[in-house]
Symmetry: C2
Subunit: 356 residues, 2 copies
Amino acid sequence: MQTIALLPGDGIGPEIIDEAVKVLKAVEAKYDLKFQFKKSLVGGASADIYGTPLTEDTVALCKDCDAILFGAVGGPKWDKLPKEFRPEQAILGLRKSLGLYANLRSVILFNALSDASPIKKEIIGEELDIMIVRELTGGLYFGKPKGIERTHDKTRAFDTMEYTDEEIKRVARIAFETAQRRQKRLTSVDKANVLETSRLWRTIVTDMAADYPDVKLCHMYVDNCSMQLVLNPGQFDVILTENTFGDILSDEASVLTGSIGMLPSASIGDGKPYLYEPIHGSAPDIAGSGKANPIACILSVAMMLEYSFGAKDAASAIKNAVERALNEGYRTFDIQVGAKKVVSTSEMGDIIVENL
Amino acid sequence: MQTIALLPGDGIGPEIIDEAVKVLKAVEAKYDLKFQFKKSLVGGASADIYGTPLTEDTVALCKDCDAILFGAVGGPKWDKLPKEFRPEQAILGLRKSLGLYANLRSVILFNALSDASPIKKEIIGEELDIMIVRELTGGLYFGKPKGIERTHDKTRAFDTMEYTDEEIKRVARIAFETAQRRQKRLTSVDKANVLETSRLWRTIVTDMAADYPDVKLCHMYVDNCSMQLVLNPGQFDVILTENTFGDILSDEASVLTGSIGMLPSASIGDGKPYLYEPIHGSAPDIAGSGKANPIACILSVAMMLEYSFGAKDAASAIKNAVERALNEGYRTFDIQVGAKKVVSTSEMGDIIVENL
Ligand SMILES: CC(C)[C@H](C(=O)O)[C@@H](O)C(=O)O
Ligand SMILES: CC(C)[C@H](C(=O)O)[C@@H](O)C(=O)O
C-alpha cells in the first residue's frame, strides 16, 4: 500500500488532480498496486482558511506519505499579500522542508502536437526530448543573508547566491545518472565567467565526470544556453543547472514544445517522499470552466509510478494512453493543433482511462 | 571634433571595427562631423602583451574620449586563465569604471531577413522592435561579498545580488524615457515572488510610474518573460530588467530575429563617454576569414551618432544604407536567407558606404 498526499492548491489545481486520481485508480487494479490518498489544502486555499499557505500539519502529512502530487498554487486574489502569506511560499516551503534538491523537468515534443511548436519545423525537427535537472533548494532562492536594509539616506536590498560543494555534488550526481539512462550527453550550464558559485559548480562537475566515463559532458554559459534552446534545441539531452537559471531556462524550453499544458515534473531528494507536479501554473482565468488540460498532471503521475514506486509498466501504459488520445485527435481547449474533438478536463481524463 | 576610442579586442573584433571606421569616415564629410580615433588593445590581445585584459592606460584613454567603440573579446586561447586575466574582465571593468549602468539592446527584425527567424511567421509577424534596457553595473556581477571559502570539511561559494534604491531609479528612469520615445509600453521584469532585490525593484519602478503617466507599465516574472519572448514577442516594446536577467533575456530575444550578427548595443551612464558594441561575440573560429558580419558594429556606430553626438540624420542614413544593402540581397556568410550575393566583411562595409 502506497500513500499519496494530494495537494490540489488553487485555480485549476483541484480539477487536474481529480483526473490524475482517476488514472491512479484505474492503474491500481491492473498493475497490482494499492493507493491510499490523503488530501490537504495548500497555497491560497490554505492561506484563506489557516492564514498561511503551508501549515505544519500539511508538511507533517506529506512527510508521512510515500509520494506527493501537487496541483498548482496562486492567483490574483493573493498577489498583494506580504511575502510570507503568498501561495508560492507553499511550494518553496515544501521543497526546502522535504529536501527536494533536484527538479527533473521533461521537455518532450509530442508527435501529434509537433505543429504546435512556435519554432519552425526545420529547427525543432520531428522529435525533441530534453531532460532538465534543476537544483531546487539552493542558490538565490534560499541563500542567506537576504533582506532589505533602510538607512536615513539609502535603501539596499540583497539576496545571496550560495552553493556548497555537497549541494552541487548531489544534484550533479542525479544529472549524470539521468544522462546514463538516456543519450549520455550532459550540458552543465553556468555563468563561470562572472560568478564564483558558477566557478565552483564547473570545477565540481568537471571533476565528477571521471566517475561517469560514458557520459559526454560539456559546459555552456547561461546566456548562450538561452540562445541555443531556440536556435538548436535538438543538441541537448540532459541539462544541469542551478536554481534560478533552471527556473528561467526550463520555462523557455517548455514552450518550445507548444504544449506547456502537457509537461510533468518530479522533485526528488535523498529520501521519500518525492513531489510531482505539472510545470504549468494555476491558470485562475480558466478555473472551473472545464478548459484545463489534465495531461501534465496525469504524466506527473506516470513519473511518480516510475520514480517513487518502481512501476515502470504502469508508467509506460499511462504515457501510451496519453499518446493514443492525442493521436486520435482529442484536445483540451489550450491546444487546438490537430484537434478532431475538443473535450473538457474530465472528458480527457475519461478518454485516457479508457485507453489504459 | 569628437574623439572616439577604438577597442577592437579579439577574434573578429579588429575586422568589424575596420568597417565601422570606414563608415564613420564616410559620414564625416557629409554631415559636417570631425572624428579623431584613438586605438587601444583590450581583452586577450591586451593580456598577451601587458598581462592584463584592461590596462589603466586604456581606461584613462577611454575616459578622455567622447565615445567608445568596442569590438569583441575572448577566445579559447585565454579560457583557462584565472579570472582576473580573462578577456571578459575588460568589458566588465570598463562598464564599472566608466559608470555605464544602462545597456540598451535593440532587437529588430529586418524586413529583408524576416525569414531568418527561428520562430514561425504567424508568431513573429512582419515586424519586431523591442528595446531591452539592462542594468549593467549592479546585481550578481559586482555585489559584495563574493568568493569561495574552504574549511576542513566543506567548500562554500557565494555571490551577492544587491541593489540600492538609487541604482534602480537611475536605470528605470532611462527605461521610462526610452518608452516615452517609442510605443510607451514598459515591461519591468523581476522575480519578486522569490527575491528581495526584486521586491525593492518592483516597488521603486511602480512608484516611479507616477512621473510617466503616458507610459503603460506592467510587471512580469523572469521565468514567464523567457516564455513570452518565444510565444508572443510582439507584445513587448521596452523591457527593463536587472543585470543577470538582462544577460539571459537579451540573448534569448536577439536570436528571435535570426540576425544576431546585426544587432547593436549602447551602454550609457551619467556622463560621457558611452560605449557602443555589437551584441555578438568574438567568433574566433571565423576570425581572419572575411566571413564576419560587420553590420552589428556599423549599427553600433549609428547608435553612437545618435546618443553621443546628437547626429540623428547621420544615424538614420547609416540605418538606411544597411537596409538598402540587405534589400539588394547582399549578405555575409552568417545569414544566407534571401542572399543574392554573399560578400566578405570588407565588401559589405564598402557596399554600405556606397549606399550612404
Ligand atoms: C512559483 C515559483 C516560486 C516557482 C519557482 O520559481 O521555483 C515556479 O516558477 C517554478 O518554477 O516552480
Ligand atoms: C562577456 C560577459 C561577461 C558579458 C556579460 O555577461 O555581461 C556578455 O555576455 C554580455 O552580455 O555583454
